[in-house]
């Protein structure tokens, strides 16, 4: 490890010792944060994985319904039927603070009727397909929420891990090495002073 470029004085030594203490405290705190984040992340990612599998299956089924429905109707009719939806969706977003990461929490609000078209030219399959979509929607929102949370946590965990590593493998060893270097230098100077005095004393006695 490289030692820092400082003057080997007692003043620097004291400063460095103080720095080491701070770095050690920071290191401990960050490691605790990392553990906390990791725990939360694992919890969320497991849930997210299961949820995604479920959602993808359901969505597949909904798409199939919709394909069948659209195959039974003229494309123009289908498009016209769905051109101006009266249904409205909106989300309420809250953010939670987990280990200083702000993660979003969505609440879905639905309004209006999805079956907003004339029944004359449209097929019954379309109604069913849209209902299937509507059923999937809350799950999709849940998936979005949980994946976004996982993403945010992953970013933060990575950042924290880097900081912990930087402290542990770079800053702390460097500081310690420098402290060692300075204290050696200082004791060397001390010894040199003593021998100097001894020699002068010996010279005077002769």
């Amino acid at each position: 490890m490289a030692k820092l470029n400082v003057n080997p004085t007692r003043m620097e030594l004291l400063n460095l010792k103080k720095q080491i203490k701070t770095a050690q405290r920071g290191h401990k705190l960050l490691r605790d944060k990392q553990d906390g984040l990791m725990q939360k992340f694992m919890e969320i990612i497991r849930e997210a994985r299961d949820l995604r599998k479920k959602v993808e299956e359901k969505l597949q089924a909904a798409f199939k319904n919709f394909m069948q429905a659209s195959a039974m109707m003229y494309p123009e009719v289908l498009e016209n039927a769905l051109l101006y939806p009266s249904a409205e969706v909106s989300l309420e977003v809250e953010t939670k603070n987990v280990m200083s990461v702000h993660i979003p929490h969505f609440t879905l609000k639905q309004k209006g009727n999805i079956l907003n078209y004339g029944y004359l030219q449209t097929s019954g399959e379309l109604d069913m397909a849209l209902e299937a979509f509507q059923e999937v929607l809350p799950l999709l929102i849940q998936l979005a929420e949980i994946e976004r949370q996982a993403e945010r946590l992953a970013e933060e965990t990575e950042k924290t891990r880097r900081r912990v590593n930087a402290l542990e493998h770079m800053l702390l060893p460097n500081l310690e090495e420098t402290v060692k270097f300075i204290s050696m230098k200082l004791s060397e100077a001390e010894r040199s002073a003593i021998t100097g005095v001894m020699r002068i004393k010996a010279g005077m006695e002769d």
Binding site: F41, V55, E56, M67, P104, K111, I114, E147, A154, R161
Partner: protein, 119 residues
């Protein structure tokens, strides 16, 4: 529109997103990666003024179909998800899942843990 209610959007090819449109989701048509990219940026830049110079995003969630999501570059994705919102979520299309969503999740695990522990 309510002050603290956000909207949902979806980006994909026309036949795949029509169904979502009926639910009241903002559907933006994109047929290739480039179109999807500009659609995402456009949706992301739509903001609502709250008064006193404060603004917030209009869309909280943007769903994007898997085949288009794979064509969005990492840099663009990073730019889009700098802030807490929106959440950009890939969903499988008519052809069924190609595993992109799960790959994405694997990457998250790798990023957080440092190695892939799900296998």
């Amino acid at each position: 529109m309510n002050i603290d209610s956000y909207k949902i959007a979806i980006v994909g090819s026309k036949d795949q997103i029509l169904g979502f449109k009926a639910l009241g989701i903002t559907a933006t048509i994109a047929n290739n990666g480039e179109e999807a990219r500009s659609a995402l940026f456009k949706l992301n830049n739509e903001i609502i003024k709250l008064g006193e110079g404060e603004t917030r995003k209009k869309y909280a969630i943007i769903f994007i179909l898997e085949d288009l999501a794979t064509q969005i570059t990492k840099e663009d994705y990073k730019k889009l998800t700098k802030e807490a919102l929106p959440a950009i979520i890939p969903i499988p299309g008519i052809q069924g899942t190609k595993g992109y969503g799960l790959t994405r999740m694997k990457k998250m695990v790798e990023q957080a843990v440092g190695s892939d522990i799900f296998g």
